[in-house]
Amino acid sequence: MSRYDHFTSDVLIVGAGLAGERAAIEAATQGLNVMILSLVPPRRSHSSAAQGGMQASLGNSTMGKGDNTDVHFADTVKGSDWGCDQDVARLFAETAPIAVRQMSAWGVPWNRVVAGTRMYDGKEIHEAPEKEGLIAARNFGGTAKWRTCYTADGTGHTLLYTMDSVVIKLGISVHDRTEVLSLIHDGTRCNGVVARCLRTGKLRVYTAKSTVMATGGYGRLYGASTNAIINEGNGMFVALETGVVPLGNMEAVQFHPTGIVPSWILITEGARGDGGYLLDKDLRRFMPDYEPNKKELASRDVVSRRIMQHIRKGYGVESAYGPHVWLDIRHLGEKHINTNLREIANISRNFTGIDPVHDLIPVRPTQHYSMGGIRTNIDGMAYGLEGLFALGEAACWDMHGFNRLGGNSLAETVVAGMVVGDKIAKYTKEASTHVSSAQIEEHVRFQEDRIQALIHCRNGKENVYELRHQMESILSENVGIFRSKEPLQNAVDQLHELHQRSFHIGLRSGGQGADPELASALRITGMMKLAYCIAGGALARTESRGSHYREDYPKRDDEHWLKRTLAYWPTGADRPVLKYEPVKITELPPGDRGYGEASAGAASAKR
């Protein structure tokens, strides 16, 4: 019996969330043989948890009147704090309306415009009869127009189920419960992956002309995250561990203003978009003091910092889980809450035992999104290895720069799936297979050796769960919303030591078959490397931009830092190597975002 099963395809897609599935559909409809690998059944992917919506400048709703791709482009660039590549942001904004309409044609039940008058934040809004039945939009942070298309607060769920129904219809092969351990490559070309079956524990080899990483973000490096527990950055660290593929802007970590206390489940931005307020311990609405124009709907980095700033001033509500603020949606009324915001009503009831129809929701900023990831060009090709692509949250494409706007991640997954999927198909049609059995054997043997060492505790008896909890708290305590030199240096030093200790893990379980402890142990060293890149990148970047806020360098510094961090991990190295590349500015020169610290400096003096 062979030591491993071997599968081949034209295109191998790792990750069955929206980005991976959309790219798979694109390649399959162009006649290619596509295979998808996924940690979990596709419909369990973290895309399903996205509640709020997907940005596209349709301009159907009254409050979106006059919206177009230029405005969406400008909002995205400002949101990114000029950290994005503008050619990518432009391509994205132009394609988003097509992407939303195509998802509609495929079956997403987008909420539609209803003609008539309703109240919003104390104002009357009239929806025009001639727009009745077109796709509606809600308000989201950092946008000049209402642009976020939605299905109640289950937007990600409906998008993913619809996308997956097309994957099923097309007969695309999906191997779920399969975890990628490493990329098969020769230093110049990627030829596939070594993976482990999470049903049997057996190793597998997948070879393909093109390999695509669509594995999502790394939220679970931080203990307190809104992310699903599968979001451990797998695609990013297997790419990093090739030694030649860099990760872009890993220090750009988004904190969402409203994670529910204490389970850190996301309360969608749609709650504030639909008119919810933030209140402090005196039940006073404080955001207008800091951000008189955008209030609760400044961009996420700004609102998160303002909440923490207000808590630091002593206006937080004390709790057993640390201070928090309140989110108030009671005034939206029972009907609205139980239909358009039903998921958050359920989350509040089930996890904290409160009813948002009558009660305030306890919230605090929580790790939410990774703007950084596998650095690619505008075609989605990874730097460093031919035949390797990345898209979605796993990638640094880079349209989010240092802060992503709400509703732009769902939009990115589908848009990048269309655009990059097409590039993958074109590339694959011209490509040929180059992999030798010796190369496969070398990569399989490396993983077999790792597994045997862990099972037999050959290198020590470190406990994987203990190391993991230490990593989580180092990041949460030192590389959070407010950053400065000393804690960052501490984080780097501690992560250096922790990374070394991760080579000495030994299993207590015996590691047989689909053992869950073995799965954790196989991941942990790669996760440590990602954590190291985040902390190292943040320490080096002596400015504040978007979500990266240095208290010792509070201003954005375009003269020195209008550039992207590229973190490499050379084979055998014990720390990352940081390099930099310029950000591409095509249309919109760096300026004021129109909200945030730069334009509301007087807020603290007001109180």
């Binding site: 979990v40 059944p41 596709p42 419909r43 369990r44 973290h46 948890a49 349709l58 097509i98 309409r101 195509q102 509609s104 044609a105 495929w106 039940p109 987008w110 909420n111 539609r112 415009v113 209803v114 039945g133 077109l134 796709i135 299905t151 109640a152 289950g154 769920h157 409906t158 129904s165 097309v166 099923i168 219809k169 779920d176 419960r177 049903r199 049997t200 699903a228 527990i229 599968i230 204490p262 389970s263 489940i265 996301l266 057993a320 239909t339 998921e343 359920n346 989350i347 089930n350 996890f351 035992g353 769960y465 299993l507 207590r508 379980s509 078959g513 689909a514 053992d515 869950p516 402890e517």
Partner: protein, 242 residues
């Protein structure tokens, strides 16, 4: 506040090692404020038995991964608070689905098979034109579709269904609800006769014997009783026309 000592009686079996018989193993844990079964099971795995298998993904009641029998009732473990349970808690895997080990079952394969058998995608002759405006839809219709679309495929309705437990090909309430979702969608151009071929059988809507445990057990409150009645009525009419 003094917390209870909880005893978890957990079903253990590894189908990869069939010579080892299934067993129930007990684990003792100190209860904490706000403790869910997600927190409790992780503690047991990290501190007491690293071989324990179970499935969580979103841990927020959204993804449907963690359906299991909790003191006999099929429901989601992630959002079950220990304070709502007695001090003795029995955890068993959902029946019907293939057991992968301990509390982990293969819902993914089961639901994919039902999606294929019911052809659960929009059937249309129209092709998408990227340059034209979207087709209009009444917002009430969109909300009606979403009402059925909300199913998270956790399998609780299937695990608690007597028919599904004795008839291996029965598509159950989740399968029927999936069909109802496309019946409600004007974009799907299938007619009643075509739907009859998909669900007008003993493995489909006529296999249901109306015990309605599905409706009681749905953790997200989809009105399955109503969806079953809707599809049954339509298929009965379609059947008479044959």
């Amino acid at each position: 506040m003094g917390h209870r000592q909880l005893t978890f009686h957990i079903f253990r079996y590894n189908p990869e090692i069939p010579k080892e018989k299934p067993a129930t193993v007990s684990y003792v844990l100190q209860e904490e404020t706000g403790m869910t079964l997600f927190i409790a099971l992780n503690k047991i795995r990290e501190e007491q038995d690293p071989t324990l298998k179970y499935d969580f993904v979103c841990r927020a009641g959204i993804c449907g991964s963690c359906g299991m029998l909790i003191n006999g009732k099929p429901t989601l473990a992630c959002r079950t608070l220990t304070k709502d349970l007695p001090a003795d808690i029995t955890l068993m895997p959902l029946p019907v689905f293939k057991l992968l080990g301990d509390l982990s079952v293969d819902t993914g394969t089961w639901f994919r098979d039902v999606s294929l058998r019911t052809e659960a995608w929009v059937h249309t002759e129209k092709s998408f034109d990227p340059h034209s405006q979207e087709e209009r839809m009444d917002n009430e219709t969109a909300l009606n579709i979403y009402e059925a679309e909300r199913c998270i495929e956790c399998g609780c309705c299937i695990g608690g269904c007597a028919t599904a437990n004795i008839k291996p090909n029965f598509i159950g309430a989740a399968g029927v609800n999936r069909v109802a979702r496309f019946m409600a969608d004007p974009r799907d151009e299938r007619n009643e006769q075509e739907y009859f071929d998909v669900v007008g059988s003993e493995d489909g809507i006529f296999g249901c014997i109306g015990l309605m445990a599905c409706d009681d057990n749905c953790p997200i409150g989809i009105p399955l009783q109503g969806q079953l009645a809707y599809v049954r009525r339509k298929m009965a009419v379609a059947g008479w026309k044959r």
